[in-house]
Protein backbone atom coordinates (compact mmCIF):
# COMPACT_ATOMS: atom_id res chain seq x y z
CA UNK A 1 0.00 0.00 0.00
CA UNK A 2 1.33 3.43 -0.98
CA UNK A 3 0.04 6.62 0.56
CA UNK A 4 0.96 10.27 0.05
CA UNK A 5 1.81 12.20 3.19
CA UNK A 6 0.63 15.61 2.00
CA UNK A 7 -2.67 14.21 0.75
CA UNK A 8 -3.26 12.35 4.03
CA UNK A 9 -2.44 15.46 6.05
CA UNK A 10 -4.98 17.45 4.05
CA UNK A 11 -7.59 14.72 4.52
CA UNK A 12 -6.97 14.67 8.27
CA UNK A 13 -7.92 18.35 8.41
CA UNK A 14 -11.48 17.70 7.25
CA UNK A 15 -13.67 18.35 10.31
CA UNK A 16 -15.67 15.37 11.57
CA UNK A 17 -19.07 16.97 10.92
CA UNK A 18 -18.10 17.85 7.33
CA UNK A 19 -16.91 14.31 6.78
CA UNK A 20 -20.13 12.91 8.15
CA UNK A 21 -22.20 15.08 5.83
CA UNK A 22 -20.16 13.95 2.84
CA UNK A 23 -20.48 10.31 3.87
CA UNK A 24 -24.25 10.71 3.79
CA UNK A 25 -24.20 12.28 0.30
CA UNK A 26 -22.01 9.47 -0.98
CA UNK A 27 -24.17 6.82 0.66
CA UNK A 28 -27.30 8.28 -0.95
CA UNK A 29 -25.60 8.46 -4.35
CA UNK A 30 -24.40 4.89 -4.04
CA UNK A 31 -27.84 3.65 -3.07
CA UNK A 32 -29.42 5.45 -6.03
CA UNK A 33 -26.81 3.97 -8.38
CA UNK A 34 -27.29 0.45 -6.97
CA UNK A 35 -31.07 0.53 -7.25
CA UNK A 36 -30.96 2.00 -10.74
CA UNK A 37 -28.70 -0.90 -11.72
CA UNK A 38 -30.84 -3.55 -10.02
CA UNK A 39 -34.06 -2.24 -11.50
CA UNK A 40 -32.54 -1.43 -14.88
CA UNK A 41 -33.49 2.22 -14.69
CA UNK A 42 -31.55 4.42 -17.09
CA UNK A 43 -30.47 7.95 -16.22
CA UNK A 44 -32.84 9.20 -18.87
CA UNK A 45 -35.87 7.36 -17.45
CA UNK A 46 -35.00 8.34 -13.92
CA UNK A 47 -34.66 11.98 -14.91
CA UNK A 48 -38.01 11.88 -16.71
CA UNK A 49 -39.84 10.32 -13.77
CA UNK A 50 -38.31 12.75 -11.32
CA UNK A 51 -38.99 15.73 -13.63
CA UNK A 52 -35.37 16.76 -13.67
CA UNK A 53 -32.70 16.81 -16.36
CA UNK A 54 -30.25 13.99 -16.97
CA UNK A 55 -27.52 16.41 -15.98
CA UNK A 56 -29.16 16.73 -12.57
CA UNK A 57 -29.27 12.96 -12.14
CA UNK A 58 -25.56 12.83 -13.07
CA UNK A 59 -24.88 15.40 -10.38
CA UNK A 60 -26.83 13.31 -7.83
CA UNK A 61 -24.70 10.29 -8.66
CA UNK A 62 -21.36 12.05 -8.13
CA UNK A 63 -21.76 11.85 -4.35
CA UNK A 64 -20.99 15.53 -4.05
CA UNK A 65 -24.56 16.74 -4.35
CA UNK A 66 -26.11 18.53 -1.41
CA UNK A 67 -29.51 16.79 -1.25
CA UNK A 68 -32.45 18.42 0.47
CA UNK A 69 -34.73 16.27 2.62
CA UNK A 70 -37.57 16.69 0.17
CA UNK A 71 -35.39 15.48 -2.69
CA UNK A 72 -34.38 12.42 -0.69
CA UNK A 73 -38.03 11.76 0.11
CA UNK A 74 -39.05 11.99 -3.58
CA UNK A 75 -36.19 9.76 -4.67
CA UNK A 76 -36.97 7.23 -1.93
CA UNK A 77 -40.58 7.22 -2.99
CA UNK A 78 -39.83 6.66 -6.66
CA UNK A 79 -37.18 4.00 -6.13
CA UNK A 80 -39.30 2.26 -3.52
CA UNK A 81 -36.76 2.20 -0.72
CA UNK A 82 -35.47 4.20 2.22
CA UNK A 83 -32.46 6.29 1.28
CA UNK A 84 -31.73 7.06 4.90
CA UNK A 85 -32.56 5.07 8.03
CA UNK A 86 -32.83 6.88 11.32
CA UNK A 87 -31.84 4.78 14.34
CA UNK A 88 -34.43 4.84 17.10
Amino acid sequence: MITNQLFRECLAEIPAEVRRGLEISYAVAEKIADIMKIKGISKRDFAKKMHVSEVTVSKWLTGRYDFSLSQIAKISNFLGCQMINICK
Binding site: M1, T3, L6, F7, L11, K59
Partner: protein
Protein backbone atom coordinates in the same frame (compact mmCIF):
# COMPACT_ATOMS: atom_id res chain seq x y z
CA UNK B 1 7.43 25.37 -28.68
CA UNK B 2 9.39 24.15 -25.62
CA UNK B 3 8.82 20.48 -24.84
CA UNK B 4 8.29 19.48 -21.24
CA UNK B 5 9.62 16.23 -19.85
CA UNK B 6 7.02 14.36 -17.83
CA UNK B 7 7.14 11.33 -15.58
CA UNK B 8 4.41 9.62 -13.62
CA UNK B 9 4.50 9.40 -9.84
CA UNK B 10 2.43 6.98 -7.76
CA UNK B 11 0.49 9.05 -5.27
CA UNK B 12 -1.64 6.35 -3.63
CA UNK B 13 -2.05 2.66 -4.33
CA UNK B 14 -3.94 -0.20 -2.75
CA UNK B 15 -4.95 -3.65 -4.02
CA UNK B 16 -7.74 -2.17 -6.10
CA UNK B 17 -6.94 1.37 -7.16
CA UNK B 18 -3.92 3.47 -8.12
CA UNK B 19 -3.69 7.22 -8.15
CA UNK B 20 -0.86 8.65 -10.20
CA UNK B 21 0.13 12.20 -10.98
CA UNK B 22 2.45 13.90 -13.45
CA UNK B 23 5.80 15.40 -12.54
CA UNK B 24 7.37 17.87 -14.94
CA UNK B 25 11.03 18.46 -15.81
CA UNK B 26 12.60 16.23 -13.20
CA UNK B 27 10.67 17.68 -10.25
CA UNK B 28 9.77 15.24 -7.53
CA UNK B 29 6.63 17.20 -6.71
CA UNK B 30 3.69 16.22 -8.85
CA UNK B 31 0.97 18.40 -10.33
CA UNK B 32 -1.48 17.02 -7.76
CA UNK B 33 0.85 17.94 -4.88
CA UNK B 34 1.17 21.42 -6.40
CA UNK B 35 -2.63 21.65 -6.37
CA UNK B 36 -2.72 20.58 -2.72
CA UNK B 37 -0.13 23.17 -1.72
CA UNK B 38 -1.90 25.88 -3.68
CA UNK B 39 -5.28 25.45 -2.00
CA UNK B 40 -4.79 23.78 1.38
CA UNK B 41 -4.51 27.08 3.24
CA UNK B 42 -7.04 29.01 1.19
CA UNK B 43 -9.78 29.85 3.68
CA UNK B 44 -12.21 30.99 1.00
CA UNK B 45 -12.05 27.72 -0.90
CA UNK B 46 -11.63 25.45 2.07
CA UNK B 47 -15.04 23.87 1.75
CA UNK B 48 -14.68 23.09 -1.96
CA UNK B 49 -11.15 21.81 -1.45
CA UNK B 50 -12.29 19.38 1.25
CA UNK B 51 -15.09 18.06 -0.92
CA UNK B 52 -12.68 17.36 -3.77
CA UNK B 53 -10.21 15.64 -1.44
CA UNK B 54 -12.98 13.55 0.05
CA UNK B 55 -13.96 12.57 -3.49
CA UNK B 56 -10.42 11.26 -4.04
CA UNK B 57 -10.57 9.34 -0.79
CA UNK B 58 -13.80 7.72 -2.00
CA UNK B 59 -12.16 6.92 -5.33
CA UNK B 60 -9.31 5.16 -3.55
CA UNK B 61 -11.90 3.18 -1.62
CA UNK B 62 -14.52 2.44 -4.29
CA UNK B 63 -12.69 2.92 -7.56
CA UNK B 64 -12.53 5.71 -10.10
CA UNK B 65 -16.15 5.11 -11.08
CA UNK B 66 -17.39 7.06 -14.06
CA UNK B 67 -20.26 8.63 -12.13
CA UNK B 68 -17.82 10.38 -9.78
CA UNK B 69 -16.53 12.55 -12.61
CA UNK B 70 -17.63 15.26 -14.95
CA UNK B 71 -16.35 14.79 -18.50
CA UNK B 72 -14.07 17.58 -19.68
CA UNK B 73 -11.76 17.84 -22.64
CA UNK B 74 -12.90 16.29 -25.89
CA UNK B 75 -15.07 13.23 -26.53
CA UNK B 76 -11.96 11.43 -27.80
CA UNK B 77 -9.87 11.84 -24.66
CA UNK B 78 -10.12 10.60 -21.09
CA UNK B 79 -9.89 13.99 -19.40
CA UNK B 80 -12.37 14.45 -16.57
CA UNK B 81 -12.86 16.86 -13.73
CA UNK B 82 -13.65 16.56 -10.07
CA UNK B 83 -15.82 19.58 -9.47
CA UNK B 84 -18.70 20.65 -7.31
CA UNK B 85 -21.97 21.79 -8.77
CA UNK B 86 -22.08 25.58 -9.27
CA UNK B 87 -18.83 26.09 -7.40
CA UNK B 88 -15.59 27.26 -8.86
CA UNK B 89 -12.79 24.91 -7.82
CA UNK B 90 -12.01 21.96 -10.03
CA UNK B 91 -9.32 19.31 -10.30
CA UNK B 92 -8.55 17.81 -13.70
CA UNK B 93 -7.79 14.13 -14.10
CA UNK B 94 -7.27 11.41 -16.66
CA UNK B 95 -9.63 8.57 -15.88
CA UNK B 96 -7.86 5.56 -17.35
CA UNK B 97 -10.21 2.96 -15.86
CA UNK B 98 -12.23 2.22 -12.72
CA UNK B 99 -8.92 1.25 -11.18
CA UNK B 100 -6.48 3.85 -12.45
CA UNK B 101 -6.67 7.62 -12.15
CA UNK B 102 -4.02 10.13 -13.17
CA UNK B 103 -4.58 13.33 -11.21
CA UNK B 104 -3.43 16.59 -12.74
CA UNK B 105 -3.65 20.13 -11.48
CA UNK B 106 -6.64 22.37 -11.06
CA UNK B 107 -7.89 25.75 -10.10
CA UNK B 108 -10.71 28.22 -9.96
CA UNK B 109 -12.94 28.50 -12.97
CA UNK B 110 -14.19 32.06 -13.36
CA UNK B 111 -14.95 31.77 -17.05
CA UNK B 112 -17.80 29.99 -18.77
CA UNK B 113 -15.47 27.39 -20.25
CA UNK B 114 -12.00 26.26 -19.24
CA UNK B 115 -10.75 27.15 -22.73
CA UNK B 116 -11.25 30.81 -21.88
CA UNK B 117 -8.83 30.53 -18.96
CA UNK B 118 -5.14 30.17 -19.89
CA UNK B 119 -4.15 28.41 -16.68
CA UNK B 120 -6.96 25.87 -16.65
CA UNK B 121 -6.71 25.18 -20.36
CA UNK B 122 -2.98 24.60 -19.84
CA UNK B 123 -3.74 21.93 -17.26
CA UNK B 124 -6.27 20.26 -19.53
CA UNK B 125 -3.92 20.43 -22.52
CA UNK B 126 -1.13 18.77 -20.53
CA UNK B 127 -3.46 15.91 -19.65
CA UNK B 128 -4.69 15.59 -23.22
CA UNK B 129 -1.13 15.40 -24.53
CA UNK B 130 -0.20 12.92 -21.83
CA UNK B 131 -3.24 10.83 -22.67
CA UNK B 132 -2.11 10.64 -26.32
CA UNK B 133 1.43 9.65 -25.33
CA UNK B 134 0.15 7.04 -22.91
CA UNK B 135 -1.99 5.45 -25.60
CA UNK B 136 0.97 5.45 -28.00
CA UNK B 137 3.18 3.82 -25.37
CA UNK B 138 0.54 1.15 -24.80
CA UNK B 139 0.30 0.57 -28.52
CA UNK B 140 4.04 0.13 -28.94
CA UNK B 141 4.23 -2.13 -25.92
CA UNK B 142 6.50 -0.02 -23.75
CA UNK B 143 3.79 0.13 -21.07
CA UNK B 144 0.78 -1.99 -20.28
CA UNK B 145 -2.26 -1.69 -18.04
CA UNK B 146 -2.72 -4.57 -15.62
CA UNK B 147 -5.71 -4.13 -13.31
CA UNK B 148 -4.67 -1.18 -11.14
CA UNK B 149 -1.10 -0.81 -12.32
CA UNK B 150 0.52 0.86 -15.30
CA UNK B 151 3.39 -1.56 -15.86
CA UNK B 152 6.61 -0.08 -17.20
CA UNK B 153 5.76 3.49 -16.18
CA UNK B 154 8.29 3.86 -13.36
CA UNK B 155 11.33 4.85 -15.35
CA UNK B 156 9.57 6.23 -18.36
CA UNK B 157 9.93 9.85 -19.45
CA UNK B 158 7.48 11.40 -21.86
CA UNK B 159 7.96 14.56 -23.87
CA UNK B 160 4.96 16.87 -23.97
Amino acid sequence: MTMKKATLKTIEQNDNVSLYSICFDGNNESEFENFLKKFKDNAKLNSDFRIILFALEKIIDKGALERFFRPEGKMSDRVSALSIDSRKLRLYCLRISDQILIVGNGGIKNTRTYQEDDTLSGYVLDLQKFDELLLQAQKNGSISIEKNVIVGIDNKTFEL
